[in-house]
Amino acid sequence: MTEFVRFMERPGRSPVHPNALAAMQQTGEMVPQKQRGGSQRFLQGGLSAPITVTWEITAACNIACIHCLSSSGHRRPGELKTEQALALVDELADMQVFQIHFGGGEPFIYPGIWRVLERCTARGLVMCISTNGTLITADRARRLKQFEPLYFQVSLDGGTPQTNDSIRGKGVFQRALRGLELLAAENHSLTVNSVLTRHSFYELDTLYEIAESFNARLRVTRLRPSGRGQEVWTELHPTKEQYREFTNWLTAHPDVLTADSFFHLNAFGTMLAGLDICGAATATCCICPEGEVYPCAFFQAPEFEAGNLHTQSFREIWQTAALFDYYRKMGGGACSGCGQYNVCHGGCPATKWFVHRQLSIKDPECVL
């Protein structure tokens, strides 16, 4: 215990919130090396640097989605200045991070976004911008051609204005389509990003066709109960029957991307392509507008803040944050004895936390 306290008091090392510590410790011992299956063999313990970093560069947004994972809307007072953002790009490049996934908020509202993209290009970092598409103009779409490699994800949470706009706001469906059109006209690499809900489930084929019409790929991701998503998760998250049909649909559409976010559905018995485990704090993490670093974009709970870039370097947080140490060593909790543990690894920790404030339980959307 004495050693633990000393460990926690090292200068610059953020302490772990007691609730987070208790929740992580309740998951039990890390699975022994010999018993680790699938991607877990390589990911448990963490990689030397993230593969991709989700960077929510501003909280400012011109729309207000009811499920926004970061409760975005207004710019926050402590958001990183452009010079800080440029230094962060350099640090990520030095660490050999492969890709930055810009989100928010709406990244195009961040005043320094053009300089940040310029620096990423100069440093060879792959850029992916998650945008609502409404601020794309013909001029911007053209200007963006100077940056590479650059990919876009334009959000549509339904294949019809009714479904999409009930989540993303009135008129947003048409404005997002216009953004897609402008980006497609400049031959940008595009995906249409769609959060799977109880309602959008019925419009998957339409979403697929919309994506195809812009020469884009469809990317369907899992709804998490984080941010404002906590308020609508019960009402919007898909049913088990929908998930079963969705698994079949995904299998029939191998070109559809998923952000590897549906690995909990592997428990149905069909292994989906991609990672079979959560990559939070091991292969990815999230940087928030005010410099907070979290295990992933869906785990922006204050108790799980690993550190802050206003006081520490990113490398220091990734390599030494006590929270990340504990997070990477979590056990399987209630799922440890399950016969399907090696194919789903207990599902999404963020979903467990935001629904039940525990990590040792099974995924609230466990399909068994």
Binding site: S39, R41, F42, L47, S48, A49, I51, Q96, F98, Q99, V126, C128, P149, Y151, F152, Q153, S189, T191, R217, R219, P254, L257, T258, A259, D260, L272, A273, G274, L275, A283
Partner: protein
């Protein structure tokens, strides 16, 4: 395939990084569903890095310019065939 006469070339969208267990390959973009592969052979990772950095992506050239035994070459070409199937390498 496993033919040393064929040219094995990394696709342009592959990033490679050393890790303690060997290394990782990543097909970038807004990609997933198989974009990431874990390679637990440091020898293979070093070969791929050499191919990418010194031979403009030509991994065959990296093999042929190194002093591998015939048995090692066969093992490496066999591993490259697997990477062809997973979309990281093209055969020309």
């Amino acid at each position: 395939m496993s033919q040393s006469a064929a040219q094995y070339r990394l696709i342009a969208e592959v990033k490679i990084r050393r890790e303690s267990f060997g290394g990782i390959l990543y097909k970038y973009g807004c990609a997933d569903r198989g974009a990431l592969s874990f390679i637990n052979s440091p020898q293979l990772i070093e070969l791929l890095i050499a191919g990418q950095q010194q031979h403009n992506g030509d991994v065959s050239a990296a093999i042929e310019s190194s002093r591998y035994s015939e048995a090692s070459k066969q093992r490496l070409y066999s591993a490259l065939d697997d990477l062809v199937k997973r979309g990281y390498i093209q055969v020309q």
